[in-house]
């Protein structure tokens, strides 16, 4: 019981002070019939025993760093500098609560202000909030926010949007009067996919949700779509699942986005089997009061010194209750801190350089894959992710290569269902070596022969 400081004597003295005979006197309000049930679980373990037990479980998994690795589709393997993880484990950050008492939470608040500033700059938007749970829940919140702004309820979801993001948005809005119209994914023809979105916008549309780079890796100029949206007084919501792309690809803000939602995992955060991640959420100044989530703002203290506080909380559930803009309470504080520290370490210079490294690695991967008989690369313009078609079921190929220690990518069937079972999504980052690419190519040649 290494986490419990009270001794038996302490407990006895405290019960005496309270005037209770036993600790169960304090539980008198629990009906006796249900008090102290038998719990069929093992008793306590030492630190060493727990390490052995969980360590054995961890070793049953193949880690991304164990060999050639090409998975992306919304979660990416990047190198995170050691200092990031050291700093977020400082107890003052790790064990703090939401900064409700700003006089003793300036560490959290100032880093949130830096985070908001970085996210606004990266996305090319005016303001960003203190983070959402992740990109997918942020996507659903963006649709709800667009409804509040436009007072319309029809949202169009482009085929380029990650199928999980689409599913989360549909699930989250199924009991509201929102009408979510999902458009077809056309992995081989991103321009046709975009044109279908442009054609679908009308005067009932609240927003268009489009992902760039798309889930199949294509990058597109969204300026025409933005113009179409604005001509119909609809909002353009741009989803970005690979934050490194902000260093290489024209920002959503520059293309006319009204709301940008993103997954920030790439910067500062590990893969973690899907979570915790950090949702990025940015918008135009004029919509700030319709935003969900926490916001940190600048102010001064009684001595006139600059400081930061949580602000505009009249949008939030603890003040507005059923009239709040969202029910969100917790955000992704520590993951946002990791993002901020890693982003500070990179700076504009490092991010741009690493983003170009990602792109160069992916160009190399494209050339290598194109040389494999039966493999067709579908992308002309991309950042660090490609969609390729195989002459057979991609899931089988991925399983075969996993047996050789090569994690080859995400099979289309897993995300899109049987209609895309021959599709394979592959990503390369600064972690991808020439040897990794060679291994993938020779593995594919073997599997396809």
């Amino acid at each position: 019981m290494r986490y419990l400081p009270l001794s038996g004597d302490d407990r006895q003295q405290m019960l005496e002070k309270i005037g209770a005979k036993s600790v169960d006197d304090l539980f008198v309000d629990i009906p006796a019939s249900v008090l102290n049930p038998d719990i069929d679980l093992p008793d306590h373990k030492s630190e060493m025993q727990v390490e052995r037990y969980l360590g054995a479980m961890a070793r049953q998994n193949i880690a991304a760093s164990d060999g050639p690795f090409f998975l992306g589709a919304g979660a990416y393997k990047h190198h995170v500098p050691a200092s990031v993880d050291h700093l977020i484990q400082r107890g003052e950050f790790l064990t703090a609560y939401t900064p409700y008492q700003p006089e003793i939470a300036q560490g959290s608040l100032q880093t949130v202000f830096e985070f908001q500033s970085q996210v606004a700059a990266l996305t090319g938007m005016d303001v960003a909030n203190a983070s959402m749970y992740d990109g997918s829940t942020g996507c659903a919140e963006a649709v709800l926010m667009a409804r509040r702004v436009t007072r319309r309820n029809k949202a169009l979801i482009a085929g380029s949007v990650h199928p999980h993001y689409r599913a989360v948005t549909e699930t989250t809005t199924q009991f509201t009067d929102d009408d979510i119209v999902g458009l077809e994914a056309i992995p081989a023809d991103p321009n046709a996919e975009l044109q279908a979105v442009i054609n679908a916008v009308d005067d009932q549309t609240s927003c268009v949700v489009i992902q760039n780079p798309g889930v199949c890796g294509h990058i597109l100029d969204l300026s025409e779509l933005a113009e179409t949206c604005h001509a119909h007084k609809a909002l353009m919501v741009v989803v970005v699942t690979e934050a490194y792309s902000f260093g290489a690809v024209k920002s959503p803000g520059e293309m006319g986005a009204d709301i940008v939602v993103g997954e920030g995992q790439s910067i500062g955060n590990g893969l973690n089997f899907g979570g915790p991640y950090v949702g990025l959420f940015a918008t135009r100044q004029k919509y700030v009061r319709n935003m969900p989530g926490r916001l940190c703002g600048e102010t001064v203290d009684a001595d006139g010194n600059r400081g930061f506080v949580l602000t505009l909380s009249t949008r939030e559930q603890h003040i507005r209750r059923e009239k709040a803009t969202s029910n969100i309470c917790t955000n992704a504080g520590l993951c946002a801190l990791a993002f901020t520290i890693h982003m500070t370490l990179m700076g504009e210079k490092g991010l741009k350089a690493l983003a170009m490294t990602n792109h160069e690695r992916t160009c190399k991967l494209r050339d290598a894959l194109a040389s494999v008989d039966g493999v067709t690369v579908l992308n002309k313009h991309f950042f660090n992710e490609l969609a390729v078609t195989l002459p057979m079921n991609a899931n089988d190929v991925v399983e075969t290569l996993a047996g050789q220690g090569i994690l080859a990518g995400v099979p289309g069937g897993r995300l899109f269902g049987a209609s895309q079972s021959n599709l394979l999504l592959v990503a390369a980052t600064e972690c991808t070596t020439d040897e990794d690419i060679d291994a993938l190519v020779s593995g594919l040649k073997g599997a396809l022969s």
Binding site: A75, V168, N272, G333
Partner: protein, 520 residues
């Protein structure tokens, strides 16, 4: 004066203490190091990471390259480490002292949990890897689910919700899906007036009308009022138990029976589960859905506002509607079912599988404590709260009769006519070296002070806290209000102007030259 052999004075007798009026040349105040924003320290040519040489290549960005300045300054590694280390020192955390923030369960965060979550087999695996390569990870979620279901006495759990409020959404959606499946269109969710703000916000999010139910004078839900409010329009009732007044709802089984007899569902807000782990199971109390905050009860760190994790346990009636993914063991293999085609799932609440990093930490905590330790932890949490209640009762105004559960609720009656508000009192606690308790919540008492010490405190720590609290209360009651009016005095910053922040929001850094351009 005593001297060492080099003539250096080693005593303090001759030093006359000067006041706070000494200005430093640096802006620092000893260990309190002033720290600007990164935007004021860094620039667009500095970086703290390795920048690889990229060979010449033809890009495939299709004319969409980002050419302009981004506006994200960089720092070298030493500068970065120093910047965030300095900023960290402006924060209060559990690691520094007692953090009695009611309803938030600020317990010790074991570092073993952090170590386990960072094992490459957990921290460095992709959510869409072939399931054959992540058998240990799926098994971990399966084992955690087993612990959760056993501790709560419930037949099902949905692991994916990202936080408590997300769990509430999950629970209320399952209720709505179950009602729609039986063709029962109900429109109202009942919420006691002591509820967390997330409860009514969640119900509204799911398209329900929220009806508030007043509590009774002992701080609990009134069975008769509740029964009277139950009609054919009530889809569900959201009750926090133990409730936000720090009390166990004595009549919970009778209330649950009434809810079920009405064809409605019972959502329990599990924010306060830390009081009853191993002592009572929600499954024995008639609960249909309840979220657990892994970041409260099961020791995963709060991290300055997340990440949380809010698994939701379900009764047999709601289990078929649980969101995907589902984790299960089939013929000796662990499987993630991402579509739930054989169930009536209401859908997907998040990309991928939820908060794996938090699952590892929570299971590490559960294994460490074991069934015996988890029960002891709850008993200690409740004992600590009652010890504080008993030690402050004569000076403070306890809102309701004890015993309490794991938190003690006071209101501001004891400060009546002193000129000291709950806010002032809280800020004076900062000068005593404590994070204040939760204040002005729950809304059912005036000037609420909700104190939750958790099981992590030693008796000596509690005694010191009690001494501070009694001292402050005595001064306030005696009319000595100086230390309250301007508090905090000893914090890194004086009281911050929240009104100003909201009136003209400044939400990001803007370079001074841009601000002056706009002004012109």
């Amino acid at each position: 004066m005593s001297m060492n052999t080099q003539g250096r004075p080693t005593g303090v007798e001759a030093i006359t203490p000067a006041g706070d009026d000494i200005e430093s040349y640096s802006g620092h105040r000893g260990l309190r190091l002033a720290e600007p924003l990164i935007h004021e320290l860094g620039d667009d040519t500095t970086t703290g990471v390795d920048v690889p040489d990229v060979p010449a290549f033809e890009n495939a960005l299709g004319g969409l390259a980002r050419d302009g300045e981004i506006g994200a300054p960089g720092l070298s590694e030493p500068q970065t480490v120093r910047h965030y280390t300095r900023l960290s020192r402006y924060n209060y955390g559990i690691d520094m002292g007692l953090f009695p923030l009611g309803s938030c369960t600020m317990k010790h965060n074991p570092r073993l949990n952090e170590k386990m979550a960072r094992l490459p087999g957990f921290g460095d695996i992709h959510p869409l890897q072939p399931q054959s390569t992540v058998q240990g990870a799926i098994r971990l979620v399966g084992e955690l689910s087993h612990w959760i279901m056993t501790l709560t006495g419930m037949p099902a759990v949905a692991m994916s919700p990202k936080a408590g409020a997300h769990g509430e959404l999950c629970g209320v959606m399952a209720i709505r899906a179950a009602l729609e499946a039986r063709g029962d269109a109900r429109s109202v969710i009942l919420v006691p007036d002591s509820a967390h703000g997330t409860n009514p916000a969640t119900a509204a999010f799911c398209g329900y009308k929220v009806k508030s139910v007043p509590g009774k004078s002992d701080g609990r839900v009134d069975v008769d009022t509740m029964k009277a409010a139950l009609d054919e329009n009530v889809a569900g009732v959201m009750i926090t138990n133990p409730n936000t007044c720090g009390l166990f709802e004595r009549d919970i089984i009778e209330i649950a029976d009434a809810i079920h007899a009405n064809g409605s569902f019972f959502y329990c807000d599990g924010a306060n589960f830390n009081a009853i782990v191993g002592k009572a199971r929600p499954g024995d109390l008639g609960v249909d859905a309840m979220h657990l905050n892994l970041h409260k009860t099961f020791s995963t760190p709060h991290g300055g506002g997340g990440p949380g994790s809010g698994p939701v346990i379900f009764s047999q009636a709601l289990a078929p509607f649980a969101p995907v993914p589902h984790f299960k063991e089939v013929d000796g293999s662990w499987v993630i079912d991402e579509n739930g085609e054989e169930t009536e799932t209401f859908g997907r609440l998040t990309a991928f599988h939820g908060q794996m990093g938090m699952y590892v930490r929570a299971l590490s905590y559960m294994l460490s404590h074991g069934a015996d330790g988890l029960k002891q932890a709850s008993e200690d949490a409740v004992l600590n709260a009652n010890y504080i209640l008993a030690s402050l009762d004569d000076l403070f105004s306890a809102s309701f009769d004890g015993p309490c559960m794991h938190e003690a609720l006071f209101d501001d009656r004891f400060l009546k006519d002193t000129g000291v508000t709950t806010l002032d009192f809280a800020k004076a606690m900062i000068d005593e070296g404590y994070h204040p308790m939760t204040m002005y919540f729950p809304l059912v008492v005036h000037g609420a002070m909700l104190v939750e010490p958790t099981e992590s405190e030693s008796k000596a720590s509690l005694d010191q806290f009690i001494t501070s609290m009694r001292g402050l209360a005595s001064e306030a009651i005696a009319g000595k209000t100086e230390r309250f009016a301007g508090a905090p005095y000893f914090a890194p910053m004086k009281r911050l102007d929240e009104t100003r922040a909201a009136r003209k929001p400044v939400l990001r850094y803007t370079a001074p030259e841009i601000i002056s351009e706009v002004a012109e």
